[in-house]
Symmetry: C2
Subunit: 120 residues, 2 copies
């Protein structure tokens, strides 16, 4: 049998030294997520029914003012982790799965994380 070309050993980051530019790129994504509020926002958006959440669904969960929540959402959006769309009175945010997968791929052995994120 064909021996596996690469032994499935460690997380990609622990297999070979990450390049300077890859590190910079990954750090942007990680910085966006390295905050308790943004982590919860991301999680609340991703796990909300229909795959999207209105800002009004989010603010209530925090002891923070609306501008602050908006600020954090903007950071997540700028990093490419979420996308927002206005429909009538409300603004709805949705997760961008590829960006989340990029994060997982950094630290997870056996690279191929399931490409599925939304059932259809």
């Amino acid at each position: 049998m064909a021996a596996p070309a690469t032994v499935p050993c460690c997380a990609p980051i622990a297999r070979e030294p990450i390049s300077e530019s890859d590190a910079a790129e990954a750090a942007v994504l990680l910085k966006a997520v390295a905050d308790p509020v943004r982590l919860r926002l991301l999680s609340m958006i991703g796990s909300h029914a229909g795959g999207e959440a209105c800002v009004c669904d989010l603010t209530g969960a925090f002891d923070l003012t609306a501008p602050t929540i908006s600020h954090h959402l903007k950071i997540l959006r700028t990093a490419g982790l979420i996308d927002g769309e206005r429909r009538g009175t409300w603004v709805y945010y949705r997760i961008i799965p590829e960006a989340v997968n990029k994060l997982g791929a950094l630290f997870t052995p056996l690279g191929d994380a399931a490409p599925v994120l939304l059932p259809a």
Copy 2:
């Protein structure tokens, strides 16, 4: 046959809202890794022959002074991502696989990342 109890859909963080305390805990880990220098340090340590790297192997790769590298290593160590040990003249750092796996588990679908990190 028994249907899978949970459909392997999305990253854990996108399956259900992360708790406030879990978010805080994860953010500590993520903050430690959300820096290009520390990301590269972690990667260089993890991918170095023997699973450990001397500080002297690391400093040369950066345009930073020794105190700064030491500072970043301390942050990684405090976060529980690496461990350091002095042997004679040099100090050797090693990755703590469980911590890295925790990071991967946050963003990777199908939870069970391979438990293997070092061949033995």
